[in-house]
Each structure stands twice: as C-alpha cells, then as structure tokens.
Symmetry: C2
Subunit: 358 residues, 2 copies
C-alpha cells in the first residue's frame, strides 16, 4: 500500500524539548522512538520502502532520513522549500504518487500522531485502500471520542455507505465542526454520531487533485510541473518558485469541509494527535497518585503532575497539577491547565532574540 507521511510541522507546543531544528516529529515522547520513526515503523508493517514517502521541509530532511533509515529511501523524502500547510503538501503528494504509480489510492498521515492497536490501523488502512480503488471519494479516518475533548475538530457522520473489508464501516460526512466548547463537546461525545477528525486521509491522486482544483485552481496549476517531473533535476529546484506563490492553507479548510464526496471511516485503532504536554497523559498512564513520570524522580506530597525529564532527576515537593519538562539548556515549569501558553513562552524567546533556546 502507498503512504505519504506529512512531516513538515514546526510546532512550538513541545518546547523546551522541541526546537526549530528539532520539532515534535523528531522527538521521542513515548520512550520507543521519535514520532516520525514510530510512524514509519507502523506503516512499514504493510508498506514496502518503495511505497513510503515523506513530505517535509528541506532543513529537516536529513534529520528525518536518519530516523527512518531502512524504512523510507532518502530519495522518497520530498523536500519542500518551506512549510505551506497541508493543502500544498497534499497536492505535492498526489502529484508524486500519480507520476510514479498512476491513479492508485494512498494514505496521507501526519508524522507526529500516536496510534495504538497497530493491527487495527493496518486493517482500517487496507479497507480504505480497497474501498478507494472503486470509489471516487475523499476518505477521512474518524475516531470514536473517548472523552469530551475540546482540543479536536469533530466530524458528524451521515448515512452508512459501505461495510468495507473486514468489517470496516464507512459513512457519509454530514458536517465538520471546529474545536467545540466544553458543553458542545459533551453533547458530541454523548451521541454516537460524532467522530474526532484525526487528520489521517486516504484518496486517489485524481480524486484529491480534482477536489483541490475546484477550490484552489491556482494551487493545482502551479503544481502541474511537479506532476510531469521525471527526476531529471532535483524536485526542490522545481518547487522553489512554485512554493513562493502557493497559499498556506490546510487541506481540511481548503477542501474537506467543502467537498461533496467526503466519506469517513470509523477507525478501530486508538489515536492521539499529541497536541501539547498535557497529552503525554494519554500516551503514559498516570500512576496511583495521578503522576506521569518520565525519568528519575523523587516525589513528596506531589499529585497529578506530569514530569518529562529522561536525562535528569526531578524532585517535586508539595506541588500538584504541574508540568515539568527538562529540555537540556531550558527547563519548563507550567501549570497543567496552562500548557497552551508554552507557545507564548517560545514567542517571548523569539522576541528577545535568544535564538539558541527555541
């Protein structure tokens, strides 16, 4: 099966562990490897190296190549001149798949999500592939909500379309919903009609390119040289002038929320977008005192804390609901309900010109 990993993100929410030149996809939050490494391994269970591609920004390509060595050929790590969000990356991915393999279905997955139950993931991915071979659909993977999460977008399912291979269920999409209020999230969660929008997609090149063309005709025409690219000159050279004019917009906003041929596959695997330090608590189960502890520690009267310090001991005394992260030359100590402000801290560092620290 063909798959393209989107690995161009530049998130700041995992500072001080993540930095400009080492964003979230390159860091190890699970203790089992970097996010990109785990993503490549997960796909390698059913994709050969020849079938795996990564789209990232040029400055990250070599670091990523090291992480996925043996699983993704260096020539399959496609370098964007700069990050232009997922719509551009989707068109780029579709162009490359189309020019090399023809109009066959491929998965498009973020490099920095956590997926549990890999067998279920594989079954769902293969069911998607079978379904898309015969159907001109844009397929998203919807996650059954396990809690009233306000940090995710939601998808309301419509009528069932198909029972895919091995029991996979595919539905029409009635509507997309932005990150909801706590009250709305509760309602979404209570009924059985809403899924979390995972950001994992599958489609055939012709179908996604046609859908993008409807909404952003310029993007597709700008990318046309890529579709004809035969490898006589490096792709990056071709992309440079194109990316200067490409709009930075997500594929969700640009296409998925507007297209009339979207379908959602009810995922049977576990999923987290690992959006902030708070989501470390989804990856690692808290202990009896509610503490998630990565690294050596001493705790006295300390409950419900998240400590990520694989390389140094952390002692916590008399504190609760705090996130502590050792980032080498920088340390973060943050109230758990304020982790969204980590970005603000990084921005403060940017403003003060402390380049080495972000």
């Amino acid at each position: 099966m063909l798959a393209v990993i989107m690995a161009g993100g530049s998130g700041r929410r995992f500072w001080p562990r993540s930095r400009r030149e080492r964003p979230k996809q390159l860091i190890d939050l699970t203790g089992r490897g970097s996010m990109i490494q785990l993503t490549a391994e997960r796909l390698s269970a059913f994709c050969s190296p020849e079938e795996l591609f990564i789209v990232t920004v040029a400055p990250l390509a070599d670091a990523i190549a090291l992480e996925v060595a043996g699983k993704v050929p260096r020539a399959h790590i496609v370098e964007e001149p700069q990050g232009r969000n997922t719509a551009a990356a989707a068109v780029l991915a579709a162009s490359i798949i189309e020019s090399r393999f023809g109009d066959v279905p491929f998965l498009m997955v973020p490099a920095d999500h956590v997926i549990t139950d890999e067998a279920a993931f594989r079954a769902d991915a293969l069911a998607a592939e079978r379904y898309l071979e015969k159907n001109d659909r844009l397929l998203t993977f919807g996650i059954r909500p396990s809690r009233p999460e306000t940090g995710y977008g939601y998808i309301k399912k419509g009528a069932p379309i198909a029972a895919g291979d091995a029991g996979a269920e595919i539905f029409e999409v009635e509507s997309f919903h932005e990150k909801p209020s706590a009250q709305k999230a509760k309602a979404y969660c209570a009924g059985g009609d809403y899924f979390w929008n995972s950001g994992l997609f599958a489609w055939r090149p012709s179908v996604i390119l046609r859908a993008v063309e409807k909404q952003l005709p310029d993007l597709v025409s700008l990318m046309r040289p890529i579709r004809a690219h035969q490898g006589t000159e490096p792709l990056l050279f071709l992309l440079k002038p194109v990316y200067e004019r490409v709009p930075a917009i997500s594929i969700d906003h640009a296409v998925m929320e507007k297209a009339d041929n979207v379908a959602v596959l009810r995922a049977r695997f576990g999923w987290s977008d690992v959006g902030s330090w708070e989501s470390l608590r989804e990856i690692h189960s808290p202990d009896a005192n509610g503490n998630v502890l990565i690294g050596e520690h001493v705790l006295l009267d300390a409950k419900d804390n998240t400590v990520f310090s694989p390389d140094r001991l952390v002692a916590v005394i008399g504190l609760s609901d705090v996130v502590i992260v050792d980032g080498g030359d920088a340390i973060l100590v943050c109230r758990r309900d304020r982790v969204q402000q980590v970005r603000d801290a990084v921005e403060a560092l940017e403003r003060s010109g402390k380049t080495r620290l972000y």
Copy 2:
C-alpha cells in the same frame, strides 16, 4: 585580628545545588563567589593571611583551599577527620590559636552565612577584640530581628555591660531561646530585648577552653595533645584517634546556654544564616512581581517564585510560590513553604542508593 572559619558543614538544604562533596559553603548563592570565598574575603579586610584559619573536614580541604587561595594559607586549613559539630571545632580552634599566638582573642565564624555592611562587621569585630582583651567573657554576636523569624534561635539580652569601641554595645545574656513558635517570635520581635543568635562568636582560648572543660571535661582532655602540637607531624594524624571519641555537640548547646560569663554584642551589620532556598529571598531582592530570578528566564503569570538556575533558562507559566533550582543532573521544584522537606528528598535519594545525585 585572629579569626577561625568553621567550614565543616554538610548541609542538605541546598540540594540539588549542594552535594556531599560540594556543601553549601562551596556553592555560589550570591553571584559574587562561594560562601567560603566571601567569608574569607570579608575577614581579609582586617585579618592578614597569617591570622586566618579554617577548620573543615578532610575531604573538603582541597576544594576550600582553591576558594580561599591568597587569603588563607593551605597550612591554615585544619582538617578534621570527620565532622563532630561546633564544640569539638571550637576546642580545636582555641587549641591552635593558643599554641601559636598565646591567649589572645579570636573570632569564630561560620563559613556559610551572608553578612552585609562589611564596614559595620569590621567595626563590631574589632570592638569585640578590644573588649575581650580585658574581659574573660564568651562573646556572641546578636542580630536585631527584622522579622518574626521562626527559623532562628533567640538571645534575650540582660543589663548593658559596656559601651565598646566606636559605639558597640555589649550586654549580659539573660537567656537563650530555641527556634520559637510564630506567636513567640512575634513577641520576641516586638520588644527590643531579643536578638537572633547568629552563631558568630569571639573569645580568648583560655576562656572558651575553661568553659568547655566545665561542661565537657573529656573533650578538653582528649584535645590536650593538640594544644601541645608543634607541627612535627600532620595534625590530621593526631586528630584521628581523638575524633573517634569526641562527642558531636554544638558549642551553643554544650557551653553557651550553660556558661555564666556569656555576653552579647549588638551587631550593627546585616546577617542571614542562609538556611534554606527560602533565604535566597534575603540575599536577592524580589522584583515587582515578587519573583527572585537567578539566571535566564521567561515568566508568564508567575508571581512570588524563587528561581535559581544560573546555567539554564527556566520558563515558569501560571505558577506562584514555587522554588525551582537547577542542580545540573537534578532539578528541584518545590512549594516555597515546603523547602524544609528538601532534606527528605535527599534522604530518599540516599535510601535508594543514587549516590551520584546527592
């Protein structure tokens, strides 16, 4: 003027900055040098190198010698085989001073206190020396309390004895008081009759030796070989068998609280025993938000915190009344009113055998 610096302490309250082999006297809490270095510099303003001595435990002697190079000769750094508290150190100090200089007054000062207004300190020290030349007294330095501190012992002054040199006031001691309750501390602080017990002393060898002999005759007789020591063999060899039998007790408990010839000089200098991370707030003034910040930092919605991290940036988000200390391979995050429990954290490390970390 003669002075002996007591530098054998092995405090745990400044972990993770302090360690077994680098206790508080060897660390730099002020940004101006280690505590022992500042103490030696302060005394050097009126003591020549020949007049300065340090009593410490053997394993710390070389590290201390580096800190006081040029101010205290290496031969004046007296090595105890092991720490035996201040009564033994006082007898040792008196024995050395007596054998080399005769029965002349000397200061006995801790290596790890902070003193401000060095001119006043010098004036008080010289006034003490003058006074003791003619008086068989055990002189303590009493600090006028600036707040109802419950972490210090108190001295109740009695009748004035003498107006010393340059306006120094010396009083009888009516009583010593252990660390008081908050209520008692308030009362002590409100009247003008109580001083903080600083742990700084001055006396002549004959006077302190006689006073110790009254309470602990064995200690003085055990130490008699030291009084006769003429430098033909290393003092440490002589001390080894002696220290195996010497009681570990403080000079306050053993002698000062019981002797009938104690006097207190009202200190005109500023003083802190720097007893815990909390007292960093006495050395460094908090900023407008109540934060004491040593090292690079980013603060968002953070008040009344103490951050000691000279070598790494610390970001604090949404937290108040927290102490954060970077200790290299260990990080402390502690509620400010729990800093006394830092010892417990060190004990937990000891129990778990994490030798490199304490």
